[in-house]
C-alpha cells in the first residue's frame, strides 16, 4: 500500500520536475554553505584552542598555590618528581611536562624588552605538545652546551632578532638577586599563543635552574590526556590528591577561548536556524501550491476509499523526498568541501597580519564532525515536516471531495 502512495508521491514530484529540482538545489545550497561555514569556523576555533593547549596549558595544568596571581620563584611546586610518578600511573594521562618560569628581561646590544623565561626540556616538550612543529626558523635545539635559546616570533620581531644573534637574559633568582645569562638564538617559535609569541624565551632546563638557583622546584606541570572529555574527572582527582596545589583545566586558564568557542556555537546555531527557517518557507510555498493544484486528485483518492492519514503520509513523503534529496546533495558537496579544507586547509596568508592579531594560524584546517550531518538531517527533516503542516490543514479545510465535481 505504502508503495503505491510513495509511487504517487514520487511521480507527482517528477511531474513538476523543474520546480522540485529548484527546491532540492535550494536545500543543497543552504546545507553546503552551512556545513562549509560550520566546519571552517570550528576549525579556526579549535585550532586556537589547540595551540593554547599544546603550547601552554595542556588539558590540565598544575601550579604552586598562589603562583597564578603572583608568578615568582616563591610559589613553586616542590614535589615535581612525586607528581610525575603519580601522573605516570594514571592511564588517562597521555603525557606531561615540567616547566620552570620566571619573568625577566631580554637584551641585545641595541634593545631590551621584558621576557618570560621558560626553562624546559625540549625533547619532552616535543613529545608532549609537539613544540618543534611551531619552529619557523633555526633549529629545535639548545646546542651541545645548552647555550641556545628559542624565542617567540613576535618578541624576535620586536627585538629584530635572527638565528645566531647574541642575547642576554636577566631575571631575579631565588635569592632576589638579578642574574644574567648570555645565550645565542638557536630558533624562533610561532605558537600563535599570543602571550608566548610576545614574550617567551625557551632555555635549557638545567641552565635555567643554575641561573635562577632553583635546584628542585617547577612552576607548572602541563598535562595532556588521551581523551579531552575526561578533563573534569582527572582534574577533580588531582585536586583531591594535591590539595595544596592549584589544579586548573585549560578552559579555566584560557576562559576567553572557551567563551569564543561558545559564542561560535551560538553564532552557528543562529545562522543555521535562520537558514533552515527560510528554506522551510521555500518548501512550504512549493508544498502549498502542490497540494492546492491537486485538490481534485486528492478528492478522487478520498472518494474511492483512501483515508486522510494516507494522503497525509503521501504529502509528508513528497516533502521529505525533496528534503532528503537536497540533504544528500548538500551533505555530499559540503562534506567534499570540508574534506578538501581538512586535507589541504584554507590558506589565508594574504591576511596573515590580521590573523596574527587574532592568534590564528594562516592556514585553517576544517573540522568534520559527524554531528554536523546528524544535526543537518534533523534540521532538514524538521523543516520539511513542519512546512507541510499548514498545507495539510488547508487541504483538509478545502474539503477536496467537494472539489471533484467542480471543473
Amino acid at each position: 500500500m505504502f508503495n503505491v502512495l510513495l509511487r504517487i508521491a514520487l511521480a507527482s514530484l517528477q511531474r513538476r520536475l523543474a520546480r522540485s529540482l529548484l527546491v532540492i538545489v535550494m536545500i543543497a545550497m543552504s546545507l553546503w554553505g552551512l556545513l562549509a561555514m560550520e566546519g571552517l569556523y570550528d576549525g579556526m576555533t579549535e585550532q586556537v584552542i589547540d595551540n593554547a593547549i599544546r603550547s601552554d596549558s595542556g588539558d590540565i595544568s598544575i601550579y604552586g598555590q598562589g603562583f597564578r596571581l603572583d608568578p615568582g620563584l616563591h610559589h613553586l611546586i616542590d614535589n615535581g618528581a612525586e607528581i610525575s610518578t603519580l601522573l605516570h600511573r594514571d592511564a588517562r594521562v597521555k603525557s606531561h611536562v615540567l616547566r620552570l618560569r620566571q619573568d625577566g628581561l631580554i637584551a641585545t646590544a641595541h634593545y631590551s624588552r621584558n621576557a618570560t623565561l621558560m626553562a624546559v626540556d625540549l625533547a619532552a616538550e616535543d613529545r608532549h605538545g609537539r613544540l618543534a612543529s611551531y619552529l619557523v626558523e633555526g633549529d629545535y635545539d639548545f646546542g651541545e652546551k645548552g647555550r641556545g635559546a628559542l624565542v617567540g616570533f613576535r618578541l624576535a620581531d620586536k627585538m629584530k632578532l635572527k638565528v645566531g644573534d647574541k642575547i642576554v637574559l636577566s631575571a631575579q633568582n631565588s635569592s632576589n638577586e638579578v642574574a644574567a645569562l648570555a645565550l645565542r638564538v638557536s630558533g624562533i617559535l610561532k605558537t600563535n599563543n599570543m602571550a608566548l609569541d610576545e614574550s617567551a624565551v625557551y632555555i635549557d632546563l638545567a641552565r635555567g635552574r643554575d641561573m635562577l638557583m632553583v635546584p628542585e622546584g617547577v612552576s607548572q606541570i602541563s598535562i595532556l590526556l588521551h581523551d579531552r572529555q575526561e578533563v573534569m574527572a582527572v582534574r577533580q582527582k588531582l585536586q583531591a590528591e594535591l590539595g595544596n596545589l592549584d589544579v586548573r583545566s585549560w578552559d579555566e586558564l584560557y576562559p576567553a577561548l572557551m567563551q569564543g568557542r561558545e559564542m561560535m556555537a551560538i553564532f552557528n546555531l543562529i545562522t543555521s536556524l535562520l537558514v533552515f527557517c527560510v528554506a522551510g518557507l521555500g518548501i512550504f510555498g512549493v508544498m502549498l501550491v502542490s497540494v492546492l493544484e491537486r485538490l481534485r486528485e486528492f478528492g478522487i483518492m478520498l472518494a474511492i476509499g483512501t483515508t486522510f492519514a494516507e494522503i497525509r503520509f503521501m504529502v509528508f513523503a513528497e516533502s521529505f523526498i525533496l528534503g532528503l534529496s537536497g540533504y544528500l546533495v548538500g551533505s555530499l558537496l559540503g562534506g567534499l568541501t570540508l574534506f578538501y579544507f581538512y586535507r589541504y586547509g584554507l590558506d589565508l596568508t594574504m591576511f596573515s597580519a590580521g590573523l596574527d592579531a587574532f592568534g590564528m594560524d594562516t592556514v585553517t584546517y576544517a573540522l568534520i564532525r559527524p554531528g554536523y550531518f546528524g544535526t543537518a538531517l534533523a534540521a532538514v527533516s524538521g523543516a520539511t515536516l513542519l512546512s507541510v503542516l499548514l498545507p495539510l490543514r488547508i487541504l483538509r479545510k478545502a474539503r477536496p471531495m467537494q472539489a471533484i465535481n467542480r471543473i
Binding site: 529548484l22 603572583d70 615568582g72 634593545y111 629584530k160 576567553a256 553564532f267 537558514v275 510555498g285 591576511f351
Partner: protein, 407 residues
Amino acid sequence: MIFIHFALRNIRAYAVRSLVTILLLSLTTAMLVFATAFMDGSHDKMLSNAVEIYPGYIQITHPDFRAKPSLDNLIFDVEAVARAVAATPGIAAAAPRFETFVLFAADEKAVGGMLSGIDFAAERRLSRLASSRTTGRYPEDGDGNQLYLGYELARRLQVEVGDELAFVGTGADYSFAADNLEVVGIFRTGLFDFDATAAFVGKDYFDGVMAATNYATHFIVQPEDPHAADQVTAALNERLGRHYVAESWRTTMEGLVQAMLVDSIFGYLTLAVIFVVIFFVVLIYTWLTVFARMREIGVLRAVGTRPGQILQMLVAESALLALAGVVLGGMIGAGLAWYFHLHPITLAMSEEVFKQYGLAASSMPTTFAPLIILRDMAMMFVLAVLSTLYPIIKANRVKPIEAIHHV
C-alpha cells in the same frame, strides 16, 4: 501604464507570494544594513580605541626605525621635527616620545617593562593616558622622578601609589642608566598588554637620566580630523624631507586593520550563505506564481500581447515587490542602526576576550551612514529583481498554445 495596473492587481491576487517576498526581502535588507552598521561601527570603535589610547593616528620616526628600532635610528633633532609639524596645517597637537625597555625592580620583584619619557601636558590631547587614571594623580611636567604606572605592571611589581621602585636600563648614548622612581599615579586603559608593560615619566626628567636631550624615538601627531590622517601624513612627509618619515595608523596598526578586514570578510561570507537561501526562496515563489498564471499568460499571448509586454508586466510586479521589501527592510535596518548608534550595544563578553585580543572596548555603537544604507538597499533591490528573472524568462518562452493547455 496598463502593466503597472496589471502588476498591482496580481500582487493583490497572489497575496502569499507578495507577502513572503516582501517579508524575506525586508528581512534580508534589514539584516544587511544592520550587519554593515554593526561591523563598521564596532571595527571603527575598536580601531579608534586602539589608536587613541596610545599609539596615535600619525607617528614620525627616523626612516630606518621601523625596520631597526635601535638607538642609532632615533630622531636626533626634536626641534627640527617640531618646526616641521608646526608648519603643517590640519594638526591639533604633537609631541615627542622616547620609549625604552628597562628592568623595574621593586622590593621583591624585578619585571621588564617599557619606560617612556613623554610630555605629560601635550599627552592630554594625544592619548587617553590622563583619562585612564585609576589611582593617584596624573603627573605634570617638571615632576622629576614621578612615575605614572600601568595597572597590571603595578600589580606584578606589587607596588602602589607612593611606593618607590628602581629601574635599570640603557641611555641614549649606550651608557648604563639607573635611578629611583616614585609612583604617583596608576592607569588602566583596558589594553592588557599595554597596562602590563608601560610606565611614564616626564620627558625633561627622562632626557636627564637617559642622556636623551633633543632626542626621541618618535613623534606623535594628532590631526584635527582623524579621517584626514592620511592627507595630513602626506603633507607632513612633504615637509619632513628624507630625514624623517611620517606614517598613519593604517601602516603602524596594520595587523589590527587587517584583523578587522578579516572579521568583516567572514561576516559577509556568513551573510552570503543566508542570502543565497533567501534569494532562492524568492525565486521559487516567483516561479510558483508565474506558473500558476500560465494559462492567463497563454490567453494574453493569444489575444496578441507581445512577449516583451508580458515580460514588462511580470518584471514590473517583481520590481514593485522588491522595492516594497527593500524600502521596508532599509527603514528597519536604518532604524536599528540609528538606535544602536545612540545606545551602543554592550557585548556580554568577559574582559578576558578583550584581554586575549588586545582590544579595549565593550560598548559598540553602530555607524549610521545613510549613503552606505542606500548602497546596501540598492544592492538588495538589484539582487531581488535578478532572482525573479529566471522564472519570468522561462515562463515567457512557453508557446501560447502550450500555455493555454498548461495544467
